[in-house]
Amino acid sequence: MSAVIDNHTNGDDHEHHGPAKGIARWLFTTNHKDIGSMYLWFSFAMFLLGGCMALTIRAELFQPGLQLIEPEFFNQMTTLHGLIMVFGAVMPAFVGLANWMIPMMVGAPDMALPRMNNWSFWILPFAFTLLVSTLFMEGGGPNFGWTFYAPLSTTYAPDTVTYFIFGVHMMGISSIMGAINVIATILNMRAPGMTLMKMPLFVWTWLITAFLLIAVMPVLAGVVTMMLMDIHFGTSFFNAAGGGDPVLFQHVFWFFGHPEVYIMILPAFGVVSQIIPTFARKKLFGYHSMVYAVASIAILSFIVWAHHMFTVGMPLAGELFFMYATMLIAVPTGVKVFNWITTMFRGSLTFETPMLFSIAFVVLFTIGGFSGLMLAIAPADFQYHDTYFVVAHFHYVLVPGAIFGIFAAVYYWLPKWSGRMYNETLGKLHFWLSFVGMNLAFFPMHFLGLAGMPRRIPDYALQFADFNAISTVGAFMFGATQLFFLYIIINAIRKGKPATDQVWEGAEGLEWTIPSPAPYHTFSTPPEVK
């Protein structure tokens, strides 16, 4: 660790030259902007890979009956789709945004621990190679769902489960290092005058996310380590015959799993809280309450995990506790939603692409939140549990939630990163195609779930055929649109109109005071914040 710190403090000599040439720039870089870009490109590649898996699933479900793939392969697709989207697409995308934006937003020259930053990125390609390579091995890839419940993932797992376990370990190490870096940067490297309560909300949400990561990623590492020991070293953590308990797995997993879902959404809250004031040309309404709301959501996330497992046979008192605790989260979330709406109220609104994605975020995330409240009602959950209603719910909070948040962020800050504007017409088209495709894909799933269609099945009863067909059309529409997104970005970087330093008329914050594109080294002398 001292090497890392020395590198930083003696780093004055490298502050005056540009990036290294060729591949070495990317392999050995310690520059937060380079690393941020690599994170973003990597997560986009994973987004497409996980998306292809989702389309494989949707293609099979287009009609009832088994058409395209074997049920065993279908299970591997659902599992890997979930794992890749959660750990490969959404989380690294937010870490990429954090790398790019946090130093620029707090007026720091770079992340606090640049060498570790390089390392935490370069672990990821290896982790995912390890995970995806299992598809080509004997026995196939992980097939037990992204929640990998024991004993399905221990006693009955394919042999390749060990690769999955080490893959998860590596992702965990990467996330933890990333989180430590974010915390050190935010706590120690803010420009003079930038008190905690003057920080932009994106920085705040990331600080809280980083604490969540530090708290729960080790628990995930612990649970997969227990699996490893059960499988290879004869322990019985989750093996009933040896005195263990499979339900214990679910408790430990969801102790990680519920904070994890906030890890995926809090930075998106931050992004939207940056964008809406810009395009409403008003200050964010209720800054302090926003910070407290995020903190309360984070704290509450630790005491609600068992709402994922209402049906395991909990006592009534437990069901009631977890039900009310879960519903309590709607309060700070409601504060946030109303603050965003109030920020827009009587603002001078314009609807550029980042704003469109942000408004869609507010509306659709709220729908996802409401279906979450429905699932939180313990007696009703017995009906919805493990149906497509659950699938609809978490896709509504993750796709128009986390992913629209990332899209909005990319459109919003791309001119600052690349110095060029994207094509506004194409951006809006990307938004509307994504919006329609996503709703077409996921809205019918609510009805399917309420009608009783179970999740994670390759075939279904005839009465579900129409909604599934619609859903598949929507999914392919949404998927194809993302290739269009790739085109828009490349087109903007190569041929876009030069962007001004402030980029957006209503934009405020340190990142807009530096030139576009942002120079390789920014804020070598810290700015003064008043």
């Binding site: 050190a184 080790p218 628990v219 590492a221 009933a240 040896g242 214990l248 408790h251 006592p315």
Partner: protein, 192 residues
């Protein structure tokens, strides 16, 4: 304080937190067991109950409790496994002994472990076993059969509204874990 020192402090604290949370993940295992043990959640019955305490229980002649026995085999477990009596009616506080029958129909030595669960789980803490075949693993030679005793007392303090307790045993095949690979074991048996 210099930046380097500040970073060092933040990183050290973070790493301590990470290690502590990794430990906490493992600590959840005993915590979970203790929690279930105290509350009787999950239908987990407790370990050996002291024989002396069992005999000292005041027998409550005024009411009877129905105790039912259910047995099942986990997945491919081939043993025949059933209670001799499916149901007994007992006074709370009374020490009772019942038997379970098990037979190994295969041509090889096998090891089994029975795992108990009591329903309703509220009753788990009032069900005391002074002797149970589930406390140990059972080893049966080829075609061997056995009567396995269970001695228990239903606590006199059992809440009035509980009139039926159902004790379920699931039998797990532990041959592989205890005797090594089953196939290798078969060969050994033949060689002997």
């Amino acid at each position: 304080m210099s930046k380097a020192k500040q970073h060092k402090r933040t990183v050290t604290k973070s790493i301590v937190a990470v290690v502590a949370m990794f430990g906490f993940g493992f600590a959840l295992v005993p915590l979970y067991d203790v929690f279930c043990d105290i509350t009787g959640l999950n239908g987990k019955t407790r370990g050996v109950y002291d024989q002396g305490l069992a005999e000292k229980q005041q027998v409550d002649e005024s009411r009877r409790v129905r105790v039912q026995f259910v047995t099942q085999n986990n997945e491919s477990m081939p043993w025949e496994f059933k209670p001799v009596e499916y149901e007994v009616r007992v006074h709370p506080g009374e020490l009772i002994e019942v038997n379970f029958f098990a037979r190994n129909p295969t041509g090889r030595k096998m090891v089994a472990q029975a795992v108990p669960s009591l329903s309703p789980s509220e009753g788990a803490e009032y069900f005391h076993k002074t002797e149970c075949f589930c406390f140990n693993q059972q080893t049966l030679a080829a075609h061997e059969e056995v009567l396995m005793p269970l001695r228990f007392v239903v606590d006199a303090a059992l809440p009035e509204h509980l009139t039926t307790l159902t004790l379920s045993y699931t039998l797990f095949d532990q041959t592989e874990a205890m005797l090594g690979d089953t196939v290798a074991n078969d060969i050994k048996q033949v060689a002997l």
